[in-house]
């Protein structure tokens, strides 16, 4: 008699989502910066915003903050970024 096991792993199929197309350039774009709300995050993102504008010619930077770093971004936070018409979003950690 062969041994037959019940598969204990998750078998639910997750939808595969293709990543968004990479940006070919940053000049003239609108970039979202998602602050995950860890202390020091704003310091880091201030510097990123400065560099994006000064060095890469980014036109606009949209800053959005998650209510807590311990949970996924709620839909309304993601909506703020998507409705702002960002060409790309940078999610940044900080500590």
């Amino acid at each position: 008699m062969p041994t037959v096991l019940i598969n204990p792993l998750n078998e639910a199929i997750n939808l595969k989502v293709a990543p968004a197309a990479r940006l070919s350039h940053l000049a003239g774009t609108k970039i979202g910066l998602l602050d995950i709300s860890k202390p020091g995050g704003s310091v880091f993102l201030d510097r990123i915003e400065h560099l994006l504008k000064e060095r890469f010619g980014v036109k606009d930077v949209i800053r959005v903050t998650k209510p807590t770093f311990t949970k996924p971004a709620p839909t309304d936070v993601i909506d703020l970024l998507s409705k702002a018409g960002c060409h790309g979003v940078i999610e940044a950690l900080a500590d």
Partner: protein
């Protein structure tokens, strides 16, 4: 939005079989309870079981409870089936009636009086409001003393809702079908046939079911486990973050087999699966953090004796099959169903030995005080599981103290170190007091409340510890509270006495207590949850 005193419009909507139903509020001496809902709204899902109960309590003819769905017919049918809705549901796919009543969010409940005017509205979920509505509907009936939403039934006191569909700017009226987190029935597990030359234990290790050997989950063993509960194997108990895998009864049984559980452990394990996926506990964050956090299971009530949970000597270690296997089964579910695989989704910097198994029971027999679950509002004869996102335990050795206060001061010193010495206010602790310390404290007149108060008032970090402004804590100083402890200016460690929770556990010999610190706590982190085992 219609408010109290406004006339409630009449309307006609199809039911789920396409029959046109006319609703005339104010006619026939009958109260109406209109419930606007969406099928993918977690708060609607939280509310409907209470409305189902209410539908079974009200007297026929005196009140009509009507659900008004803002979503497609197919998702509404699925919702009604999943939630086993016990009252009529109408389909407002074009939001015609929704616009007339104009709820701001879902669920919104309109109670309409016999005069046809709105008597009360309730937006989102609130137990007090639900109980008030139930009181109005059940007044003068044999059920008038029933509490619809009990304080400690495992659900939060309140929860915000979702924006009503007609106020969403981008919704198309249909629920997103990408990931159905509310499916009540899942798929049966696939089967894995092993060749005669394959050692099943080695196979399970190679397949990554756990880095420690497991009991191979053969069909026969899993069926024995399933035989201990009267639930269908494909019933989904919860979706386990961070991957939201389906924890069907069968998958839970397979985890129980692998962990070495006895079949009777299925009941608490199913409760524990629900509890760990309670969004207040935030297992998503607990699993994905770089911190030490691991879910600590605390068992209270008669089930400790019935299933052989140890609460005495060695309670935090390898002392009893019940503790070791329940804690391990939970970890196997988090790993294999939730997807929190170390180095992939579980990115803890150093980890926690509790991730093998971290399950203790309170030593209620050696405690002169109320057990933890009774403090939470449960009856002593109820059994519960509590979950705490915990650091590893820290030992408090105090063999020289003659006074209870001295023991508590030793615990205070230890409490200063949880999470980080200079980090205050945002963290919690379980203090595990050993029986010998309990006796000294009781002799000196302490109980759990006065211990908690003493620890709260006497745990602080001296201001001088912050002389060097480089390092942890300085970024939060504005939120810290200055107090004086024994003449020394300090920052208070805890924001509130309720952040210190006390249980009695351990053997009767040895004056060793323990402090178990938390991960980030409160609504922005992980909240302690206690579920009754029913």
């Amino acid at each position: 939005m219609l408010e109290s005193g406004h006339a409630a419009p009449q309307f006609v909507l199809p039911d789920l079989d396409g029959r046109e139903i006319e609703i005339h509020p104010g006619s026939g001496g009958c109260l109406y309870l209109l419930v606007f809902f969406e099928t993918d709204c977690p708060t609607c899902r939280l509310t409907f079981p209470y409305l189902n109960s209410l539908a079974g309590l009200v007297e026929a003819g005196s009140c009509r409870i009507i659900g008004v769905s803002q979503d497609s017919l197919s998702s509404t049918r699925e919702f009604v089936d999943q939630m086993q809705v016990r009252f009529p549901v109408l389909h407002d796919g074009e939001w015609k009636v929704t616009r007339a009543y104009d709820p701001l969010a879902v669920p919104t409940i309109f109670l309409i009086g016999e005069d046809g005017n709105v008597a009360k509205t309730q937006i989102a979920f609130d137990k007090n409001d639900l109980n008030e509505i139930a009181g109005l509907l059940l007044k003068g009936t044999p059920n008038q003393s029933v509490t619809l939403a009990g304080e400690f039934d495992g659900n939060p006191a309140s929860k915000p809702g979702c924006t009503s569909r007609h106020l969403e700017t981008t919704a198309d009226g249909d629920s997103p079908a990408a990931l159905n987190l509310y499916a009540r029935t899942g798929a049966r597990s696939s089967k894995i046939e092993l060749g005669d030359d394959v050692d099943p234990i080695e196979y399970c290790l190679d397949a990554g079911f756990d880095p420690l050997p497991v009991v191979p989950p053969t069909i026969e063993r899993v069926e024995r486990m399933l035989g201990a509960v009267s639930l269908p194997p494909d019933q989904v108990i919860a979706h386990v973050p961070p991957n939201y895998g389906e924890a069907t009864v069968e998958k839970i049984a397979a985890a129980a087999v692998m962990a070495g559980c006895k079949p009777e452990m299925m009941k608490p394990l199913i409760t524990l699966t629900r509890a760990v996926c309670d969004e207040r506990f935030n297992i998503h964050g607990v699993q994905a953090t770089t911190h030490f956090a691991a879910p600590l299971v605390i068992v209270n009530g008669p089930i400790r004796k019935e299933l052989g949970f140890a609460s005495g000597s060695n309670v935090l270690s390898n002392v009893a099959r019940a503790n070791s296997t329940l804690g391990r089964a939970l970890q196997l579910l988090l790993l294999n169903i939730g997807g929190a695989r170390p180095g992939e989704m579980d990115m803890s910097t150093l980890g926690n030995p509790g991730k093998f198994s971290y399950c203790i029971a309170e030593n209620e027999e050696e405690s002169p005080w109320e057990p933890f679950h009774v403090e939470q509002g449960f009856r002593p004869d109820q059994s519960t599981v509590t979950l705490f996102a915990a650091e590893p335990p820290r030992g408090v050795s105090e063999h020289n103290a003659r006074k209870g206060r001295t023991i508590l001061r030793a615990i205070c010193q230890n409490l200063t170190t949880i999470f980080g010495y200079r980090l205050c206010m945002g963290f919690e602790a379980f203090v595990v007091i050993c029986p010998e310390h309990v006796r000294t404290l009781q002799r000196d007149g302490f109980d759990k409340d006065s211990i908690r108060r003493f620890l709260f008032d006497n745990t602080g970090i001296p201001l001088r510890a912050f002389d060097d402004d480089d390092g942890e804590g300085v970024q939060y100083l504005k939120a810290y509270e200055k107090i004086t402890i024994d003449g020394e200016p300090c920052y208070r460690k805890f924001a509130h006495p309720s952040q210190i929770r006390i249980i009695v556990a351990g053997g009767t010999a040895g004056k060793f207590s323990a402090v178990i610190g938390s991960w980030a706590t409160g609504p922005r982190g992980s909240q302690v949850v206690t579920y009754p085992i029913e």
